[in-house]
Symmetry: C2
Subunit: 222 residues, 2 copies
DNA sequence: AAGATGATTGACCACTCTGGTCAGATATGG
DNA sequence: CCATATCTGACCAGAGTGGTCAATCATCTT
């Protein structure tokens, strides 16, 4: 059959895709080994080519799949009716962690190809998808946000960048910590302390970048 | 001679080291190709092995060299008598850019091996150097800093992290912009607009994270 | 039970690239 | 002119590459 791969049990599909996501995002297109992918997925090398024909087709399939996931599970779910900046960013972060827990490999793969986009020529039908995704992506933190709450003595765009960078820094630190501690089990239960840390940070950021309408700032000396 | 490499003109040494730095930091130890390094350095493959004997020795030489540079050109030059946090961070950043302009490849290489330290076993004499470097590194933004200037309503460690993350975010954005614009010429003249942007950011951060002794914050509405 | 068809495999292919060697060429200095 | 140090790329065995295919296995139909 032509789409033998589609007819597989979902679990097997996922095993194969994850193996491929992993290999490609770790080594890039050229250095990635189809042998390794097959071995990692627990199937024969011939089977892999039976499904996808050749390396390039597999790669394009992965790109499409990753974009599909990112859109379906993340971008399309943002609630643009939420106008408070910090509520929006909280919603985004929580959603992102959930997606990451479930589709870590796919998202790492996407991050890789976005980061090294110079090296890859996307097939035409994917270019549009990419543009649309980037458009939404870029508007996540700005569309329909109530910026009147922000302090006035710093340009709004600057505040926005600073907040984004701060949260990205926190995310990177978490990733580091997870890696170091061999963190595996991304259940909500296990993540609880990190969520609390995150909310604490959000509170501080709000204190910093929102207007201080109550004038609390001046209780200086301890 | 045994240290034929040391007797070369500095320029040739540097060409070879840079080629090696580049290859190793892009591909990692195993995937890096000695052929590529030789070609990139503009010397015969035999010559490379004449100098270093084998791949591993070359690699260890590079690690040592990178640490040497980081210490000599950066860590040892920080002025710990400067107690103002933002002056300290400004000094560090400027110094880092200078070093980066001159030793980009070596620093990227060091970043790579620090990032993937799980994969590499350092030779014993380097472990000590690494520890010492990390010790200094970790104290750059804390030792002999006057923390009484910071606002009191946010934990000092939190403020510190936030500032670090913000500046790291700015640095990452600059790197991105440079890459996109094929920026090559790291002369002070060319960097000027970016310096100005940086100082502006520093001012804003100071306004944000230092105590607001003059109570300026409340000039709200535009 | 026999046959047919699709799914799966790994040995195999031609080819590229690997780290490393070494006989010979070239440069240097006495 | 020799001796010694420097430098080279053809060459090596081995590993790994993407891709093929005859053979096996599994499932279903008749």
């Amino acid at each position: 059959m032509d789409d033998a791969f589609q007819s597989l049990e979902k679990e097997k599909q996922e095993r194969i895709l994850n193996a491929a996501f992993k290999e490609f995002s770790e080594k890039g297109y050229k250095q990635a080994s189809t042998n390794q992918i097959a071995k990692d997925a627990g199937i024969g090398k011939g089977t892999l080519f039976y499904y996808f024909g050749n390396k390039e087709t597999l790669f394009n399939y992965l790109i499409n799949e990753a974009f599909e996931i990112a859109y379906r599970e993340y971008l399309s779910r943002i609630d643009f009716d939420e106008t408070d900046f910090f509520n929006r960013i909280e919603e985004m972060s929580v959603l992102k962690w959930q997606v990451y827990a479930r589709y870590e490999r796919a998202l790492s793969f996407m991050a890789h190809i976005l980061m090294h986009s110079e090296n890859y020529v996307l097939p035409e039908d994917l270019v549009k998808k990419r543009q649309k995704a980037e458009e939404i992506w870029g508007s996540l933190l700005t569309r329909n946000i109530d910026f009147s709450k922000f302090r006035e003595d710093i340009p709004k765009e600057t505040s926005l960048k600073f907040i984004r960078w701060t949260i990205e820094g926190f995310r990177a630190e978490l990733e580091q910590r997870f890696k170091q501690a061999d963190f595996q089990d991304y259940t909500n239960e296990n993540l609880k302390p990190f969520y609390e840390e995150f909310y604490e940070h959000l509170d501080h950021l709000k204190k910093i970048y929102y207007k201080n309408s109550k004038g609390e700032q001046s209780k200086d000396v301890e």
